[in-house]
């Protein structure tokens, strides 16, 4: 059976170019699926790196029997357009399937004649069973026996099969089929690190932040890959720099210690980065030092807010104090800190001032300011869906406010757009610490630093212009939409909201 797996291309509006400047990650979901069906002929097409008409060329030349596409929320339309093109070129004989977070959490967005099936939840076993079924002549409209699917049945109606259990040990999955993306690997990066390989060593998160759907996707369970297998996979990578895409890598102290032991014992020389919570960093400075010595150079964390009630409203279960301690720890160790902060739509000028002052005080190497966005599938979405100014999924990119703002939109975006410029002091402080503490990494990353500076030079004027955001919204979001005057605390997505939803 011939299988084509596609990472859809971004198509604006809705993208300001973040992924082309800060973080451009390999399609791990697709290489993981491909690894499950080694007996079949599989191609992976990363349309973010291809000319638009390449999809049509590959469809014509390869003539796949199945086309699969992955989709985050903002990719929703692009994913469907990809499958539309597959059906247009190859006709109804090609089977089409979409998987990923957004199809799992908002399947209604994909119920379309060009989508034969949606893979709900973790995809590997579902995909393998589906391919086996189709390859052995199984009826493509009779998929009820395969758990984890929503599919078009013989009558053209969508039917959902049994839920797929997400309990398989991560060590039992085969290594992602990275050889299928060989032509692209030099193009993946995270800030100054690149070429960059990406790995997933755990799935799920035990926290329940109301703006995040990871814990819902993985049903509040977390599974871990063993330290030994992580290092096996690291050693097999050609790239010197690796990013662990885990939703919350810094969570299992014992596993992290074993990882350090294993890396030290085998003498693995890789630079690596990951994502983790600030409370763990703050509470485990010694372990962070060991991780640093084992090659950790970058940590991306959600600091989210400069206010205790702001963190509480997000159900973050963290404190501003821990954020401060984590930033200090990372700076002390010379670990490049990327911090995500959320601007709430109800922000006033004073709120913006306070947040930016806080970021400067923390000293974050790369502060990434986003806008609080109720993503489909989250508790926040359920609580605030009625307030949305648009359901156009391109705008759920954390860079547009899909909720009414307290400030006039033009003013709101002007304040939002100045973030980079006014947080320079903290940026400088943190980066000097990296430069001082990690000269070998900095030296090795010089080509990546040069590329990053070139990209950032072009990107900054775009990011620092309110016009960038407003032009995207023309004809879609009313530029005069304002949050009605109300006590500020009441407008927050308070903890009580969750109780109301329940």
């Amino acid at each position: 059976m011939k299988i084509l797996l596609v990472q859809p291309a971004p198509f604006e509006p809705g993208r300001i170019g973040l992924e082309n400047t800060i973080w451009f990650c390999e399609p791990v979901a697709l290489t993981s699926l491909a690894a499950m069906v080694p007996e079949h002929e599989v191609k992976i097409l990363d349309l973010r790196l291809e000319d638009d008409v390449e999809l049509v060329r590959v469809l014509n030349d390869f003539e796949p029997d199945l086309v699969g596409v992955t989709s985050m929320t903002t990719d929703c339309y692009q994913a469907k357009a990809t499958l539309q093109t597959a059906k247009d070129v190859l006709g109804d004989r090609v089977f089409t399937i979409v998987g990923g977070h957004h199809p799992t959490l908002a399947p209604e967005d994909f119920e379309d004649p060009v989508v034969d099936a949606l893979c709900l939840g973790e995809g590997e076993d579902t995909f393998r069973e589906l391919v086996t079924h189709l390859a052995t002549g199984g009826d493509p409209r009779a998929l009820g026996g395969i758990a984890g699917l929503r599919f078009r049945d013989a009558h053209g109606s969508y039917t959902t099969s049994d839920k797929r259990a997400q309990s398989r040990s991560l060590d039992s999955f085969p290594a992602p089929a990275r050889h299928l993306i060989k032509k692209y690997v030099k193009d993946y990066f995270f800030t100054v690190a690149g070429p960059l390989a990406s790995m997933v060593t755990s799935r799920g998160c035990s926290f329940d932040c109301n703006f995040c759907a990871i814990w819902e996707f993985y049903e509040r369970k977390t599974r871990f890959m063993s330290a030994k297998l992580i290092v096996d996979r690291m050693e097999a990578l050609e790239e010197r720099m690796v990013f662990f895409l885990d939703d919350n890598f810094l969570t299992n102290r014992r596993r992290l210690e074993e990882l350090c032991d294993e890396i030290e014992r085998r003498g693995v020389k890789k630079w690596w980065g990951t994502q983790g919570r600030t409370d763990f960093i703050a509470d485990h400075p010694d372990l962070m030092r060991r991780l640093r010595d084992a090659g950790l150079v970058m940590v991306l964390s959600g600091y989210e807010s400069n206010e205790e009630d702001g963190l509480a409203a997000l159900l973050k279960r963290n404190t501003v104090e821990k954020n401060k301690k984590a930033a200090a720890t990372l700076m002390d160790l010379g670990i490049f800190s990327t911090g995500i902060f959320m601007v709430r739509p109800d922000y006033t000028d004073e709120d913006f001032d306070a947040l930016y002052a806080h970021i400067n005080e923390l000293g974050i190497a790369l502060p990434m300011i986003s806008i609080l966005t109720p993503l489909p599938g989250t508790q926040l979405y359920k609580a605030r869906e009625h307030e949305l100014l648009t359901k156009d999924r391109r705008f759920f990119d954390l860079l547009h406010s899909v909720l009414p703002t307290a400030l006039p939109r033009e003013r709101f975006y002007a304040r939002f757009a100045e973030a980079n410029r006014v947080t320079w002091a903290g940026w400088e402080k943190a980066n000097l610490a990296v430069l001082k503490n990690r000269p070998r990494f900095v030296l090795e990353a010089l080509p990546g630093i040069a590329r990053f500076i070139a990209r950032a030079r072009h990107y900054r004027p775009i990011l620092e212009s309110a016009e960038t955001h407003l032009r995207d919204e023309v004809g879609i979001i009313d530029p005069n939409a304002r949050l009605a005057a109300a006590p500020r605390k009441r407008r927050l997505p308070l903890v009580e909201v969750r109780k109301e939803v329940a």
């Binding site: 604006e12 008409v53 539309q84 960038t468 995207d472």
Partner: protein
């Protein structure tokens, strides 16, 4: 327009060859003064696809139709996006201002071909399509007029279509077709306007119509598009009859196919250009990996008014946009 038996309608037209000739005689004479009759420079047949051997005219055309229906020009990702992405009237305004430059030029391609058509029968087929393009089936409104009505419904003010900078691959599309119809052998031109246009438009326009509907356009605002799906199916059939009379010899088949593929290659570039303009309207500068935009990147682009002046200065009659 009735979709019943287009072939019968075509035969009825052909039976009145004299009337069709009269309808276009003026055009023929006018063009003949400008360009000498070229009945076809036929290069040696070089099969471009492995395995394509000699085959009958009908079989060749059926094969060619399949090839066209799977071509990137006909299945450009922009078309699928129009169907699925919630574009706005403003986006379609940008789309239309680029697309408009193609609208009035199709008749010019046909007029060039009419002069070169090697037989009365071929002339009559082309003439029938021309008469339709001049306004048959659209209450006397020619296609450019219908399209301007669509543009006004997008919010585009009167005259904006002449003053909007056109992407190079938009003007390139028209220039390529003028070149094909004027300088290439007759059958290459027929391949470009027949299979290249009339077979592809009924496949390309439905997603556009779906997108326009989703953006809130009313049926009377998008008549240009709906009319074309119906009309071009008829035109495609008529031209297929004309092609069938020529497509027996391998050399002729190669020329027809070459014309169709040249047209579709230009079409794929055209759709990419339109998409580029839609993106750049909202993001004049961006840093996307595949097609980064830079400030001032539209410098040097010609408006439709400027481009027409330039083309006419070169002795080519292009377009009846006004």
């Amino acid at each position: 327009m009735s979709r019943e038996s287009p072939l019968r309608a075509a035969w009825e037209t052909v039976s009145d060859v004299a009337a069709a000739h009269r309808a276009v005689a003026g055009v023929t004479r006018a063009l003949a003064k400008r360009a000498p009759l070229v009945l076809g420079r036929r290069p040696a047949y070089e099969p471009e696809r492995e395995g394509r051997g000699a085959q009958g005219g009908r079989a060749f055309l059926a094969d060619l139709r399949c090839e066209i229906e799977r071509h990137a020009g006909v299945n450009h990702p922009l078309l699928a996006r129009l169907r699925h992405v919630p574009f706005t009237r403003q986006d379609y305004r940008v789309f239309g201002l680029q697309h408009y430059s193609l609208v009035g030029t199709f008749t010019t391609y046909l007029e060039h071909l009419l002069v070169k058509a090697p037989s009365s029968q071929a002339k009559s087929w082309i003439a029938k399509v021309l008469v339709d393009e001049y306004g048959e089936g659209s209450e006397g409104k020619d296609h450019a007029e219908l399209y301007r009505e669509f543009l006004r419904s997008t919010g585009s003010p009167e005259g904006e279509e002449y003053e909007t900078p056109l992407h190079r691959d938009v003007t390139g599309f028209v220039a390529e077709h003028l070149r094909i119809c004027r300088d290439e052998p007759f059958l290459v031109g027929l391949g470009a306007v027949g299979p290249g246009h009339e077979w592809s438009i009924p496949r390309m326009f439905p997603p556009i119509i779906a997108g326009l509907g989703a953006a809130g356009f009313q049926p009377d605002e998008i008549r240009y598009f709906t009319l074309h799906v119906l009309q071009d199916e008829d035109h495609g059939s008529w031209l297929e009859e004309a092609l069938a009379t020529f497509a027996e010899a391998p050399e002729a088949q190669a020329q027809i196919r070459r014309g169709a593929l040249l047209s579709l290659a230009a079409r794929a570039r055209f759709w990419s250009a339109v998409q580029d303009q839609i993106v750049r309207y909202r993001q004049p500068e961006n840093v996307h990996l595949r097609a980064p935009a830079r400030a001032g990147s539209s410098a040097g682009l010609l408006t439709l008014r400027e481009w027409k002046r330039k083309v006419q200065g070169a002795g080519i009659t292009a377009a009846s946009h006004t």
